[in-house]
Every structure is written in structure tokens, then in C-alpha cells.
Symmetry: C2
Subunit: 111 residues, 2 copies
């Protein structure tokens, strides 16, 4: 794998990595239904606000969320609508895994 190819996959992996945490995934799901301030998300997640804030900064750094300060609150919103499509695919992975009892699961066709 040459340096350029390596760099391409590193960038992509960084975005997936940002999504690959239960709390972050949950917050993305919540935000897909509308913006929320940190204190709301903190209550929904049920963790320390500092923890939630760090999770949000990870998602923001990955370009998935946008933040806007209004008054005393900071509101986060989902920048990329298609992110929710991930979940459908993830569910498909789950289904194919449970169906795969006899090793005859469908194999990916060439794209």
C-alpha cells in the first residue's frame, strides 16, 4: 500500500472511528431528529458533561457535527444527513450474521 493510498484510508478510518462509540452513535441518532444543546445530550446519555463534551468534539473534529453558541448554550447539529444510512447498513450486517448458520451467507458482488 503506497503512501497516497494509505493516506486515503486513514482519512476515511478517522471518520468511522469517530462514529464507533455507543454514546456518540446515540447522540448522532438523537441529533438526526433535530439540534440539541450539550446539557440536553448530557441528560439523555447519562454521563458526566465533560465526557459528553469530549465525545461531541470528536464528532465535530471528524466533520460530522456543527456547533453554534446561542446565549449560554452550545447547540450541536448533524452536518451530514446520510450518516443515518450507516445504521441501515449496520442492521443488514447484523441480519446477515444471524442468518449465517451454515456458512452459506451471501457474498458481495463486484461493484
Amino acid at each position: 500500500m503506497d503512501a497516497k493510498t494509505q493516506a486515503t484510508y486513514e482519512v476515511r478510518a478517522r471518520i468511522l472511528k469517530a462514529l464507533a462509540h455507543p454514546s456518540r452513535l446515540f447522540m448522532v441518532d438523537v441529533l438526526s431528529r433535530g439540534e440539541r444543546c450539550v446539557c440536553e445530550l448530557t441528560e439523555l446519555v447519562g454521563a458526566d458533561m465533560s465526557t459528553v463534551s469530549k465525545h461531541l468534539s470528536v464528532l465535530k473534529a471528524a466533520g460530522i457535527l456543527a456547533d453554534e453558541k446561542r446565549g449560554m448554550q452550545v447547540y450541536y447539529s448533524l452536518k451530514v444527513p446520510c450518516v443515518m444510512g450507516f445504521f441501515d447498513c449496520v442492521s443488514e450486517v447484523l441480519t446477515s450474521r444471524t442468518v449465517d448458520r451454515d456458512g452459506k451467507a451471501p457474498v458481495c458482488q463486484r461493484r
Copy 2:
């Protein structure tokens, strides 16, 4: 976040986590164009075979890949065609991030 919700997002995050590594992402991309044995992937990735083997077992455990031993080689294949759809979405995230100069990036509509 109640226990059931927590469990749901943990399962989903585990799958994203499996994909969230440059080498693993690269291998999934390669496998989307057809099956490959470990030795071929090892050469393509350019790492130790033990490292590649462990990466493959992570993807297999997540239900993303299937493996089949034929003779001396073990062939891995992509079980979930839709996984490649991830990449299109990821690219969209990348685009929206670079476009976002004036803080006017498109915000996700409710689903």
C-alpha cells in the same frame, strides 16, 4: 439512556469499530472486488502476516467477512455488499467539511 438502548448502540458501534482502521478499510475495499487469500492481502497491505490475520479476524468477528479454507490457503470474502455504501457517505462527509468555510454547512433534515 436505558440498558436496552445502550445495548443496541453497543452492537452497532462494535461493527463500526471493526471498520475503523485504515488497513481493515483497505482490505474491505479490495475484497469488494473479489475474494483474496491472506497471503495476497498481506502483500497488498505491506504488514506482517500475523497483523493482517488479526485484522481479518476482527472483521470476521463483526460479521463483515467470511472465510473459507481451500487447500493451503484461507480465502476471505465480503459478506455484506452494502458496506461499500459507507465509503460514498464518508466521502460526502469529507466534502461537506471542506466546503464549510462560512459556517453555513447544510444541516441534517429530520428523518
